[in-house]
Symmetry: C2
DNA sequence: TTGTGTGCAAAAGCTTTGCATGTTG
DNA sequence: CAACATGCAAAGCTTTTGCACACAA
């Protein structure tokens, strides 16, 4: 239920691996095969996912990992900015890979769950201005627009979500 | 750990009550004392709160209610726009009363948990433009800026909220 | 009186934790 | 070989659900 583009980008994954490796080295973390397996699995995915879905998917992979390791590794990947963390109104944390994708925000259809990404430079302006005005050092942000997608959405309905 | 203003606004509460009443009537919902008690409790509060905190607080009130009723009523109040729902990065749903406050967004300090509110008209422009471009009917949004508050923050620490 | 709403407690879903075992550096 | 990471299962939290009872309309 996502607007996606393309599959596994080997180059991107390789660069992400380097970043992850460097991060682990400079933080004295162990470069375990589990951690790399999780990174790879994430880079095979296209869109948003949650920890449980990733765990389930990992079970079918060459290198199985436990739930605890999935959660642990997701945290590391967030810390080194290889993935971004979201909460689209529900109590499930969603992730998406962020390296190699330009900064973007989300438009979520409340009827069918579709997530569309968009960019707008005005966000950056707002961040700069508000950071200065309110004396904050702003590190990141989330802008989520909620609504109903006209057109395609009705077709997707009928399978009664919500 | 919030930037707040003032306490119980009788007038505002009374108007909110009317809106809630009208909502319940037009949806054939029962106007129970529990529902009004929850609305009142919310309008006594100044800032953001979660369901559990509200429930705990209600226990000391004249009209006790159960957790289930709290959750049920919060949903109704969101539906009629008397309160707004947020998730500031954690897996707890936070609410705040929204009637009588002008539309605003949030700046969250990752160190001390402080939440500052701000307004920026550019958000509205983005909503309008993106809705049109992507063929969505946008109903609401959340813009959360995360960062560290310079100055006041260090002083505020030590009492460890979060 | 009728059926919606409530209370209570149990269940469910996501995430974290504890501990024994494995493995990296 | 010592410390950190993993796996597993149990525990923790927030939220939802089921069922009997209460009460608004």
């Amino acid at each position: 239920m996502e607007v996606s583009v393309g599959g596994f980008n080997e180059q991107l994954f390789s660069e992400a691996q380097d970043i992850f490796t460097e991060y682990m080295e400079s933080n004295n973390l162990r470069k375990t095969p589990e951690r790399f397996a999780i990174l790879e699995e994430i880079y095979k995915r296209t869109d948003h996912f949650d920890a449980e879905a990733l765990f389930i998917h990992m079970k079918t992979q060459e290198y199985r990992v436990s739930r605890a390791t999935v959660y642990n590794t997701l945290e590391l990947l967030v810390a080194c900015d290889l993935i971004a963390k979201h909460q689209f109104g529900k109590n499930v944390t969603q992730y998406e890979k962020s390296y190699g994708s330009k900064q973007h925000d989300h438009l979520i259809c409340e009827d069918c769950g579709k997530v569309v990404e968009f960019c707008d430079p005005r966000i950056q302006q707002i961040k700069n201005m508000m950071g200065e005005m309110l004396n904050f050092e702003i590190t990141h942000h989330n802008l989520d627009l909620y609504g109903k997608c006209k057109g395609a959405c009705e077709k997707t309905r009928g399978t009664s979500d919500n």
